[in-house]
């Protein structure tokens, strides 16, 4: 194996790819939270309901979430091409990656939200009901603030997962660092580019995790 020569790297291209990755990540994370949080709250509320119709809705919804979660992301991207084209007009590149990223990650995040909400002490919920809180008030004033550290942890895990998903999308024509690593590192044997791309993604993941951990500690009151 010959020595590594980092002078061959086109840093402008790396910079552009990094911005693309951040762009995809940012948008995908935003929409994932936007869809996943209410979905998670819905899953939680339905699972607690003792009305049998709602129980069935929960089972069906839960089943759909499980299906989406069990489809490998790389296949999900391909399967969603018509849908992606319908939503953003293209099925490739940075924009074309965002819808499958959101659809892949939102059910995952919803499950994490559901789990975080389950961690809230039942007694506290009951106490607020005893004080006359409505269902919406229980969600807004009890469930969400009480589970905030858990929710932030869930957001961190989801954001990190999205970083690896963006990289995977590079395989099928997405943009960003993942695509760079595959095109140069794998197809053109430019190991140096792959190393730089991977290092940048590791840095990104570490930064996200650290930020998340800090926030969890900041919000924890137990």
């Amino acid at each position: 194996m010959k020595g590594l020569d980092f002078s061959i790297i086109n840093w402008a291209e790396i910079g552009e790819a990094s911005i693309d990755t951040l762009f995809m990540m940012g948008y995908a994370t935003f929409f994932t939270f936007l869809i996943g949080l209410p979905l998670g709250i819905l899953l939680y509320s339905l699972s607690k309901s003792n009305i049998w119709v709602l129980g069935w809705i929960y089972r069906i919804l839960s089943f759909i979430v499980n299906i989406v979660r069990s489809v490998p992301f790389i296949i999900l991207i391909v399967a969603l091409i018509p849908f992606t084209r319908f939503v953003v007009g293209v099925s490739m590149g940075v924009q074309g990656t965002i819808p499958p990223l959101v659809i892949g990650a939102a059910p995952f995040f919803a499950r994490l939200v559901e789990t975080a909400l389950r961690e809230v002490d039942r007694g506290v919920i009951e106490a607020s009901q005893a004080m006359g809180a409505s269902t919406l008030q229980v969600i807004r004033k009890v469930l969400l603030p009480e589970s905030l550290p858990g929710l932030v942890a869930a957001m961190t895990i989801t954001a990190v997962t999205l970083v690896s998903y963006t990289a995977m999308s590079g395989m099928v024509g997405g943009g960003g660092l993942g695509s760079l690593a595959i095109q140069y590192g794998y197809y053109r044997y430019q190991t140096e580019v792959m190393i730089v791309a991977v290092v940048l993604m590791v840095v990104l993941v570490q930064a996200l995790q650290m930020l998340g951990d800090r926030l969890v500690i900041y919000f924890s009151r137990k």
């Binding site: 506290v124 106490a127 004080m131 006359g132 409505s134 009480e146 009151r221």
Partner: protein
């Protein structure tokens, strides 16, 4: 203030029905402190949770402040619940909110203006003595302080009724006493009706006016605390009062050691001011019999003094009988047990 009519609660499906409460009737008057005592699993927890309908009764009616809660729709029930304060064994405070915000919580639910909340909460913080802890989180407080926050929170919406679900069971004896004092204080100050459940007889003895004993989902005995306490009728009640299992053994030992050729063992019960009078010595001086005290307690129920002595009288049979008659004439309760 609170009235339960034929309250029944069952769990489970058709195949296996568990009855938690069966046909409970209970009335709590305004301004009264009413205690329900029972072993764990007796149904007392279900009972108190049925009063604000945290638990939906299977049958029967729940009336609080002249309103039949069991008839209300969801919205209306939520409104009525804000008039029923509740405190819990495990406090159930919002861990993510400060002492101040925990107490403000019920007020924010009903959309009270900020200035009004601030006034009310500061008043309550002073009432429960937590001025220095207003910005702390529950995790930074001791159990007793947490329960004080719970009490302040329960009082925030000016309730007519306070429900206490084993409110002192997680606290040590000193803290229990200070919380009971606080409850007694707010009961007097606001003429607040309090219904509490507990498995501790001393809680009943310290603050309750009336008591009901619950066993296997039904109330087996109820009445003024002094009556139930001093003249327990049901086996379960007796168990709660003579929690000292050695009392019976001790009495046996005492009787076997008696030397006199003729003795009569009696249990004498004092209630009220008489407890501190020299009735016993006056009577025996008159009749000339001797007595030995085998067992005895002198204490108070709420603020009423009482005493209960097990005594053996020795002497001439006629004189002993005359002694008992004289004691009865002085309004003491005399029960011959041996």
């Amino acid at each position: 203030m609170i009235e339960l009519k034929q309250l029944t609660k069952t769990y489970g499906s058709k195949q296996k029905v568990t009855t938690a409460l069966s046909g409970v009737n209970l009335t709590v008057a305004k301004g009264e402190i009413f205690g329900v005592i029972g072993h764990s699993g007796a149904g007392k927890s279900t009972l108190i949770r049925c009063i604000n309908l945290l638990e939906q009764p299977t049958e029967g009616e729940v009336w609080v402040g002249g309103v039949e809660l069991t008839k209300l729709g969801k919205r209306e029930l939520q409104r009525q619940r804000s008039k029923i304060g509740m405190i819990f064994q495990h406090f159930n405070l919002l861990s993510s909110a400060t002492v101040y915000n925990n107490i403000a919580f019920p007020l924010t639910l009903i959309g009270t203006p900020r200035a009004e909340i601030s006034r009310k909460v500061n008043e309550l913080i002073a009432l429960v003595g937590l001025e220095e802890h207003r910005n702390k989180y529950p995790a930074q407080l001791s159990g007793g302080q947490k329960q004080r926050v719970g009490i302040a929170r329960a009082l925030a919406s000016d309730p007519d009724v306070l429900l206490c679900d084993e409110a002192t069971s997680a606290l040590d004896p000193q803290t229990t006493d200070s919380i009971l004092k606080l409850l007694l204080d707010i009961n007097k100050r606001f003429n607040l009706t309090i219904l509490l459940i507990t498995h501790e007889m001393n809680v009943i003895q310290t603050i309750c006016d009336r008591v009901a004993v619950i066993h296997q989902g039904g109330i087996v005995e109820q009445g003024p605390v002094s009556e139930v306490f001093l003249k327990p009728k049901h086996q379960v009640t007796r168990e709660f009062i003579n929690h000292d299992a050695f009392a019976e053994e001790g009495l046996k030992l005492a009787t076997s050691a008696l030397h006199a050729k003729w003795a009569r063992i009696v249990r004498i019960t004092f209630l009220g001011a008489k407890t501190y009078e020299s009735v016993m010595s006056q009577v025996v001086k008159q009749t000339g019999v001797n007595f030995a005290i085998l067992q005895g307690t002198i204490s108070t129920i709420k603020d009423v003094p009482y005493g209960q002595l097990t005594v053996s009288f020795e002497g001439d049979e006629g004189d002993v009988d005359r002694t008992l008659t004289l004691l009865r004439e002085r309004d003491l309760d005399v029960e011959v047990i041996g």
